[in-house]
Symmetry: C2
Amino acid sequence: MLIYIENVPGRDPAYRISADAVRAALGEAARHCELVECMSDAPDLAALARARYFVGSRLDTARIREHGRGLRMVHCTSAGVEAYLPLDWLPPQAVFTNSSGVHADKAGEFGLLALLMLNDRIPLHATSQRAHRWHRVLSTPVRGKTVLIYGTGALGGAVAERAALMGMQVWGVRRSGKPHPSLHRVFTPDQFEQALPQADFLLAACPLTAATRGAIGARQLALLPAHAGVVNMARAAVMDYGALADLLEQGRLGGAVLDVFDPEPLPADARWWDVPRLMVIPHVSSDNPVDYIERCLAIFARNVAADQAGRPLENVVDASLGY
Amino acid sequence: MLIYIENVPGRDPAYRISADAVRAALGEAARHCELVECMSDAPDLAALARARYFVGSRLDTARIREHGRGLRMVHCTSAGVEAYLPLDWLPPQAVFTNSSGVHADKAGEFGLLALLMLNDRIPLHATSQRAHRWHRVLSTPVRGKTVLIYGTGALGGAVAERAALMGMQVWGVRRSGKPHPSLHRVFTPDQFEQALPQADFLLAACPLTAATRGAIGARQLALLPAHAGVVNMARAAVMDYGALADLLEQGRLGGAVLDVFDPEPLPADARWWDVPRLMVIPHVSSDNPVDYIERCLAIFARNVAADQAGRPLENVVDASLGY
């Protein structure tokens, strides 16, 4: 049973998938596996043709389609998979699995941090500091204020949990509309606009899909109260940054904490660097370099075991939902 | 029984001590009280001479000494009282009480915010943003990291409680050296330097006294690990900002979040505005404008009742300790 491991040249060593790490994750099951580790620019196409499982990042989907005909599972060591959709490249008997959930601890902390920053007007203070301006604006405690979380999967759920710990009212927009243990109120995407005028904070933590692209546009942002703060730790294309910047420049909205941009790295002449009360975070909200690959491989190893036992797999990407 | 209420012209109305608010705080006891409310620039000296209790802010201590000879308690609606020491102006049979504790909720939240900001390298990201520089530096979760809190009274204790909630190791420097419910380890001021090399974060939350002035100097800051973050929500004179700025400019220390300066407002040409990885917060960490005076007056009213009943008062300033 061959497992094909692919790494990309030039990536931070913290994200390298080594055969040793795969072996450690598989445990006892590793004895029945042949592991082949390749760089993406020096593939072993013969091994790929024999492979049953594939694990990698920044996937060359054309190559997988052409050479990975025996694959039963392709696992990627990231959570966001919008770059791989539609799944027309996936070998017919294979499933595509992602690493959603490995970011939850770090992302939950960052989400809470962003909410506290907005509540204490840190984006305003950072703007004042750039102008050497002592400008005292007081805040009340965050307890009792309302955050509306757009997307309540692993990331949004981890933020919700911590916001509740601080005594916040935690509302969520959830595709299913089902109750959620960390949410005081649940809205379906259809009800999103109803909730906005009551939100002190709006935090985007959804995957980028056909349904979420542009979901937080000029109209939705204008429905927020004038003091509201906005966080994006999802994907830039979820939100209309032009409309957001216009509002901030007009003196509306308390502030924004944005962790995702398009393109990244953000060019030096991008508008967002200088928008008042807008903090540019260089896409670090959810990355915890310690044991990152180990956490991804734990999901992969559980899925290898499940597939061997004929049990259902976890983290299977649903092409129709887009995540 | 006369209560003399003094307000200062030009202050934010949120900080006005009205006779109505005093009456509300006193409750039933107000029926036996005569309340006189004056502005500090239009005092009623005859009333002051008859007053048993005084409540105000930005006290004119010379006037109280000269005209308030019948006072049994002078209460000030602030927590920091370093400007009123020594207490040589206090009428001989009077005690001086402060409003320590009213800041705890807001300050506790701010302290947690500052720690999370330092952990997620927000001061670095703010510096990068000013330079339009996309510079990704990843962080690990704050869970398990160590914060050393210098001063564990109402403010430091409120921070300790919230840091523990995030799974941090919470150490404190405490004059008494006694155990504290929110601290995993307690150090006496003599042991402060021993603790510094193990601290991921150092947070100052002490009153300014003869013992704390300059307590966090160049030597103490140099004992911190190179990645450590520093918070000051006490008073500027507790810490050597010149040494701190030197370290930051040399590339040492992860960052600093400073809420207190000397003088305030910070002049436009002050060095601190432009020090890398240093965030200037305009002395707002602990101020919660909602119900501020009500919270101060609750202490005052409890003390009036205690004094009438011959019970010991709370929040009595100890001139020998300086708080």
